[in-house]
């Protein structure tokens, strides 16, 4: 396996088909997005990372922003994402992607900046970085691939691992008494006024994959609208870490994982979906006056409650 990226400048527009010189052949129903390199990936059979890469590639291509997009990588099985997605990219230390992306975006606010992070990366070692990037409302998009496990290091328990789930570091099953409860990061983040968009998708079957793609598309749109941080959590598989076949792992996503982590839209502030926690905003708030009573920017003061996805 070689890690060399393809050479040659990025063809930013797909050549037109069906010209008089080259009459259209059969209708294309499946093709490799231009942004996806032809290089074989390092992912195991049945791994969800490849599907998520493809969705990102399709969305960026459709939006026509690939040539001004910067990928902020992370540490996990997708550490080589920059070999598969033909984008300018920077590597981050484990967990620090949201901070790295903050630095990129603050210096280049006119670029599209996104992180690609696993659940160990984002929900364990990188919790502070993601929470504060969200609190600051950084204009970045976060693609959060939750496979409920540390895939890269051999299938250890992650903060997202389900109660009772066996992993190499919870061999008897995750015991909530000593190993705590699964961490619903997207729900937590959706409480913050800095988060303009938050949704959870899943790659279990084509219909869900299509919905997930629409979420990713909307997340990038929100970044272009410059209203806050956007995050899409994608429930994904790790057949190797789960000790299952690819088919079994897809079935488990639907039968178990989606029960614990409901799929749907949590927040789309521009569309009035989701309510942020009333944030104690000081004198800078448009309403002025008493800090404690003032809701966050764009936050309705009433009906702030626990986040639940708006659609299933």
């Amino acid at each position: 396996m070689t890690m060399k990226p393809e050479v040659g400048p990025l063809p930013l527009r797909r050549p037109a088909t069906g010209t008089p010189d080259a009459p259209a052949a059969a209708r294309t129903i499946y093709r490799r997005p231009i942004l996806l390199s032809a290089q074989p990936t390092s992912y195991c059979p049945g791994c969800g990372h490849g599907i998520v890469h493809r969705l990102i590639a399709e969305v960026l291509e459709e939006l026509g922003v690939a040539d001004r997009t910067i990928l902020v990588g992370s540490v996990g099985c997708a550490v080589f994402a920059y070999d598969y997605l033909r984008l300018d990219a920077v590597e981050s230390p484990h967990g620090r992607a949201a901070a790295v992306a903050t630095g990129v975006k603050r210096y280049r606010p006119d670029r599209v900046v996104f992180t690609y992070q696993g659940d160990g990366d984002l929900a364990a070692i990188g919790t502070a970085e993601i929470v504060h990037a969200a609190a600051r409302g950084e204009r970045i998009t976060v693609i959060f691939v939750n496979n409920g496990i540390y895939g890269m290091t051999g299938g250890q328990m992650a903060p997202t691992t389900l109660a009772g789930q066996k992993t190499t570091s919870s061999p008897l099953g995750r015991d909530t008494r000593t190993q705590g409860y699964p961490l619903p990061v997207t729900e937590l983040l959706s409480l913050l006024p800095g988060v303009a968009y938050a949704a959870r998708g899943c790659i279990a079957e084509p219909g869900l994959i299509g919905k997930t793609k629409a979420m990713i598309r909307r997340a990038f749109d929100v970044q272009l609208e410059d209203t806050g941080l956007s995050i899409v959590e994608v429930l994904s598989t790790c057949p190797v870490g789960w000790g299952m076949t690819p088919t079994e792992s897809m079935q488990r996503l639907e039968s178990e994982v989606m029960g614990a982590y409901p799929v749907g839209l949590f927040v789309d502030r521009a569309k009035g979906v989701g309510q942020a926690m009333p944030a104690p905003v000081g004198r800078a708030s448009p309403a002025g006056g008493c800090a404690a009573a003032a809701p966050g920017p764009g936050v309705p003061a009433k009906e702030a409650g626990p986040a639940r996805p708006a659609e299933a």
Binding site: L10, V100, G103, V104
Partner: protein
């Protein structure tokens, strides 16, 4: 000496308005009083720093505060991060995107930044870091210290890498070195550290308010979106051992070039010095006074002040000490600089150490006493007085 008409923390002392309509530039005040932390910050802004990231910690906080006001004024990026861990990684991202970046902290915060420094070295990112050292280990004290010498010159993060370390011993010199640090960082694509201490950061000194602007070189590796060219990747990961070794060889070749070309030091009264004092930063200020007093008392003493701590100016020190009878390292630490001094001297001259820790600063007289002791217990190349010498009978006698 002119003094600022506003509190030093409140204005932009280097900007002086021309009298309207005259077309003549108003003369700059000869000198203004500035705190070290503020002078470093303003020097970075003048140099063309595009982005600053930091986290409050004493005795560095004024640097962050100055940037909090001045960077937005200049339309540049400023973020008070949630931790030093986040600050250094914001710096990493901004540098990868082509920004000229400054980050500052003090000892405990630098420990948290160690991970990012290793990644920045591996990714070959130019970033200037300021460590305004305080007492350690642990939470230690907020007093001035030089106890991070080994961390700065040999350590911080993991892996085979080095970071050039510049050590100013006055606020005026700190201003100069900020510009030099950006030049070095960009010339060699490496993080560069300015190693200051709590006294340099907190004290006010008169400085000439002329700050240098540094031209920014073009770079063919920065990330801005792959428009009309191959995508670029900024990374430290080279999973194949042969590729990582190759990348490490590039780093090592860079360090060899830096060592060959960029060592810096200053010498005072070194001609014919019998005792060569080696000190940097605030310790060098004390040592200078001590050397003057010792010379008044008849002890031929000189000061060797390394300005680059890495690369250490070892050949120059060896030469300066060649005719001496003793070398004395003076530092605000239990003995860190002295290790490099010994390595430089290679046993040719006896090396002594005098250090205070925890935020304590030696007095000049204390250093004079240490010099006399070093003189007394060493035989010397050509004894200057007959008989047995003791600290009391060494030149100068007991003060």
């Amino acid at each position: 000496m002119a003094v600022l008409d506003r509190p030093a923390g409140a204005g932009r002392p280097h900007v002086v308005a021309s009298p309207p309509g005259t077309g003549v530039e108003a003369p700059l005040p000869d000198r203004v009083l500035m705190k070290g932390n503020e002078a470093i910050a303003e020097a970075a802004i003048a140099a063309g720093c595009d982005a600053y990231f930091g986290y409050p910690i004493t005795p560095q906080a004024e640097l962050l505060e100055w940037m909090a006001r001045r960077m937005p004024e200049e339309g540049r990026a400023f973020v008070q991060a949630e931790s030093e861990l986040a600050a250094i990684n914001m710096a990493l991202g901004a540098a990868a995107a082509g920004a000229r970046v400054l980050v500052s902290s003090s000892s405990p915060g630098i420990s948290l930044m160690a991970e990012g420094m290793s990644y920045m070295a591996g990714s070959r990112l130019p970033v200037v870091l300021v460590n305004v050292m305080r007492g350690g280990p642990g939470l230690g004290s907020i007093g001035a210290s030089q106890a991070d010498y080994l961390q700065a010159t040999k350590g911080h993060g993991h892996g085979d890498y080095r970071v050039p370390v510049l050590a100013p011993s006055s606020i005026a010199e700190a201003i100069e070195l900020v510009g030099d640090a950006f030049v070095l960082a960009e010339r060699y694509r490496t993080p560069v550290m300015i190693l200051a201490d709590g006294i340099l950061g907190q004290a006010m000194e008169p400085v000439v308010p002329r700050f240098r602007s540094i031209p920014k070189p073009t770079a063919d590796w920065i990330l801005e979106g792959a428009a009309g060219r191959d995508p670029r990747v900024v990374r430290s990961l080279h999973i194949r051992p042969d590729e990582l070794e190759e990348a490490n060889e590039v780093l090592q070749a860079t360090y060899a070039e830096i060592t060959a070309k960029e060592r810096r030091w200053a010498g005072e009264s070194l001609d014919g010095a019998e005792v060569v004092v080696v000190a940097y930063g605030t310790a060098a200020r004390v040592a200078r006074t001590a050397v003057e007093r010792a010379r008044e008392d008849g002890l031929r003493a000189g000061l060797f002040r390394p300005i680059t701590l890495w690369p250490f100016p070892a050949p120059a020190l060896r030469e300066a000490a060649a005719g001496a009878r003793a070398v004395l390292a003076v530092e605000l630490s239990a003995g860190q600089l002295v290790e490099d001094v010994r390595l430089a001297i290679e046993g040719t001259v006896p090396v002594f150490h005098h250090g205070r820790t925890g935020g304590m600063v030696p007095s000049p007289d204390e250093v004079v006493a240490a010099m006399r002791k070093a003189w007394a217990v060493t035989p010397g190349k050509a004894p200057t007085r007959p008989g047995t010498v003791t600290p009391e009978t060494a030149p100068g006698g007991v003060r």
